[in-house]
């Protein structure tokens, strides 16, 4: 007994050194990722913020000074207010549309039997496997003026007399964005539905609730956190979307992302483009963080 105790003492001493080393190991392990994050996110971000305070002229190019010219221009020129307003409006309508269509879709999906659920889940996720550009060009092919396939068909059937306006309209951008964003909403709501105790609906039924009441009073409040987190994802992706507004909206219907792109690559006014990009980022972060805090406080009892 005593022999075992004495032999265990020296054995215990060396273990403290590896233990100390082990406690520092996580720091070393995150270092590569941290360096990558700093190198490709933080530094360029700081440079973009700095860039937004620089001056620019048609002939003198970028001048590394610190002035508020770009910010003043954005604040005073109503063009920017209209453009940011349009970005916000498109993102909000897209979010509302995906929620209204996606939540019932997820509910129906969740009630399907195994095999059908697999097929329809694939159908919903399928679009994610195709490039956004290809999907958006598909809409352009269908509704692109009088040459669009769907427009031609509808006109030859006599349903409409002139092609449906789709390209370069806000409606067109919203429709295409809803199509692109739908999987994110469906998956988010579906995850919330998976946590639902199936007996809860039976319990409500036994207490005399009809199907509509069960949906409204029992199911919906419980999947609301899923709908709202889906909405946060869809909103931030839609507000910063580039490919879809670029193809459907084109030059005529600019949103923040396409405007920043044009300032950088066409006008070559990098500082102004940087200011637009920074404003979009700050606005999005504020909205998303605020909405998230609201969701967490409001639905603390529902989410486990």
């Amino acid at each position: 007994m005593s022999a075992a105790a004495t032999t265990s003492l020296p054995a215990a001493a060396p273990t403290t050194v590896p233990a100390l080393r082990a406690s520092r190991a996580p720091l070393w392990l995150i270092l590569p990722a941290l360096m990558l994050f700093t190198g490709v996110v933080l530094v360029p971000l700081a440079m973009t913020v700095l860039l937004s305070f620089h001056d620019w002229g048609q002939y003198k190019g970028i001048e590394p000074v610190l002035i508020l010219k770009n910010w003043q221009e954005i604040a005073t020129d109503p063009y920017y207010a209209e453009m940011f307003g349009r970005t916000l409006r498109i993102a909000l309508i897209t979010t509302a549309a995906t929620a209204l269509l996606g939540a019932p879709e997820a509910y129906i999906l969740n009630r399907m039997s195994g095999r059908w659920r697999g097929i329809f889940l694939l159908l919903i996720l399928g679009p994610l496997l195709i490039s956004v550009v290809a999907r958006t060009l598909g809409w352009a092919l269908l509704f692109g003026g009088s040459n669009g396939l769907a427009n031609k068909l509808l006109m030859s059937l006599g349903v409409i007399s002139s092609p449906l306006p789709f390209l370069f309209t806000e409606t067109g951008v919203v429709v295409a964005l809803v199509h692109v964003m739908m999987p994110f909403m469906v998956l988010s709501v579906w995850a919330a539905l998976q946590r639902l105790d199936p007996q809860v609906e039976h319990a409500a039924m036994s207490l005399g609730a009809g199907p509509v009441t069960i949906l409204r009073r029992i199911v919906l409040p419980q999947i609301m956190p899923g709908v709202l987190s889906g909405a946060i994802i869809v909103f931030s992706l839609s507000a910063s979307a580039f490919a879809t507004p670029a193809i459907i909206g084109g030059r005529r219907l600019k949103v923040a992302a396409t405007l920043a792109y044009d300032e950088f690559l066409n006008t070559l006014n990098w500082p102004l483009g940087a200011a637009v990009a920074v404003l979009l980022l700050v606005g999005l972060v504020l909205i998303v963080v605020g909405a998230n805090a609201l969701v967490e406080r409001r639905y603390a009892e529902v989410s486990p």
């Binding site: 007996q199 319990a203 036994s206 005399g208 529902v302």
Partner: protein, 349 residues
């Protein structure tokens, strides 16, 4: 209210989950469906609740056919195994939900919710959400929610199986008291024989979709109708026995014998509960293989020529036989049930 099941059947493809059961439950009684998992007891309850449609047969409540009535219109109170509380509502809101569905006025609703929560001892927890409550408290909310609508029948689906042993015992007593006070016809589904014995007026033992026996707890325990019931409800000793002689024939278990009932012949199996066997001067010779002290009683594992035997004796302070000692086992003739067939068949069931 009286509830009656008439040749109730549920089939899933080729498998029969519930096989034409007939059962009549008297108003105000506490009936227990008891059986191992897969015996069809939960399926039966789900059919009564209306969540499953029977393949055949009818369910009658006070003579009225319930089979075609939608579950939301049956007016039954159900306590689920998982409690199935609404997690986004407080305890009071959970209980109030059924009253809201019945369009009970706000003042009366508040009053009845308060009374229901007080009845289950949760008066102080009105504004608590289920996630912030313990399992026992959630269970009480579920019970209050089911009872507040004054259901014609209360259905309990393994309501205590998620509680720890001590709490389960407390809740058993409480459940029984509440049921007695309200006089609500209650159907309890459980696989726990202790729960069934201590709670119910009548036990319905089920196996493989059929009813094995219906009776009071005492009846079912003391006069099991089949080997299955004897094995499932408590412990029992099966001895292989002979019937010797004719008019008067005697049933012989090793050194123990008694007059055989008329008509019994051939090799039979006799079944005796461990607590009904005593040590005596005459009887079945046995050897004590192990003696286990269990506080208020002793448990003896014995070996006999007719098979192993378990004997339970109260710890009455008198000297008890020790391990390895030769003893003789005896029991009263009334304490024994006789079954035909070999011992192996009885043990397999």
């Amino acid at each position: 209210m009286d509830i009656e099941l008439v040749s109730l059947t549920k089939r899933y493809g080729d498998t029969v989950a519930v096989d034409g059961i007939n059962l009549k439950i008297r108003s105000g009684s506490y009936c227990c469906l008891l059986g191992p998992s897969g015996c069809g007891k939960t399926t039966t309850l789900q059919m009564i609740a209306g969540f499953l449609t029977p393949s055949r047969g009818t369910i009658r409540l006070e003579g009225r056919d319930l089979t075609q009535v939608h579950p939301s219109k049956r007016g039954l109170g159900i306590v689920f195994q998982s409690y199935a509380l609404f997690p986004h509502m407080t305890a009071a809101e959970n209980v109030a939900f059924g009253l809201e569905m019945q369009r009970v006025g706000k003042a009366e609703r508040t009053e009845r919710v308060r009374a229901a929560l007080a009845m289950v001892g949760l008066a102080a927890y009105e504004d608590r959400h289920p996630r912030r409550m313990s399992g026992g408290q959630q269970q009480r909310v579920a019970l209050a929610r089911a009872l507040v609508i004054r259901p014609s029948v209360l259905l309990l689906d393994e309501p205590l199986s998620n509680l720890d042993a001590k709490l389960r015992e407390e809740m058993q007593i409480e459940l029984r008291q509440i049921q007695r006070n309200l006089g609500t016809t209650t159907i309890l589904v459980t696989h726990d024989q202790g729960e069934a014995l201590s709670l119910s007026d009548r036990i319905v033992v089920m196996s493989k979709g059929r009813i094995e026996q219906i009776g009071t707890p005492q009846d079912t325990y003391e006069r099991p109708a089949s080997a299955f019931v004897a094995q499932f409800l408590g412990k029992t000793n099966d001895f292989s026995a002979r019937v010797e002689g004719a008019a008067p024939a005697r049933i012989v278990v090793g050194g123990w014998s008694a007059p055989a009932p008329v008509g019994v012949r051939g090799p039979v199996t006799v079944s005796v509960r461990p607590e009904r066997i005593g040590f005596a001067q005459d009887g079945l010779p046995a050897r004590v293989a192990a003696r286990i002290f269990q506080g208020n009683h002793w448990l003896f594992q014995c070996e006999t020529e007719c098979g192993p035997a378990i004997v339970v004796r109260p710890n009455d302070g008198l000297p008890q036989p020790g391990e390895g000692e030769a003893v003789r086992l005896a029991w009263r003739q009334d304490d024994m049930s006789i079954r035909d067939g070999s011992l192996s068949a009885g043990a397999a069931a």
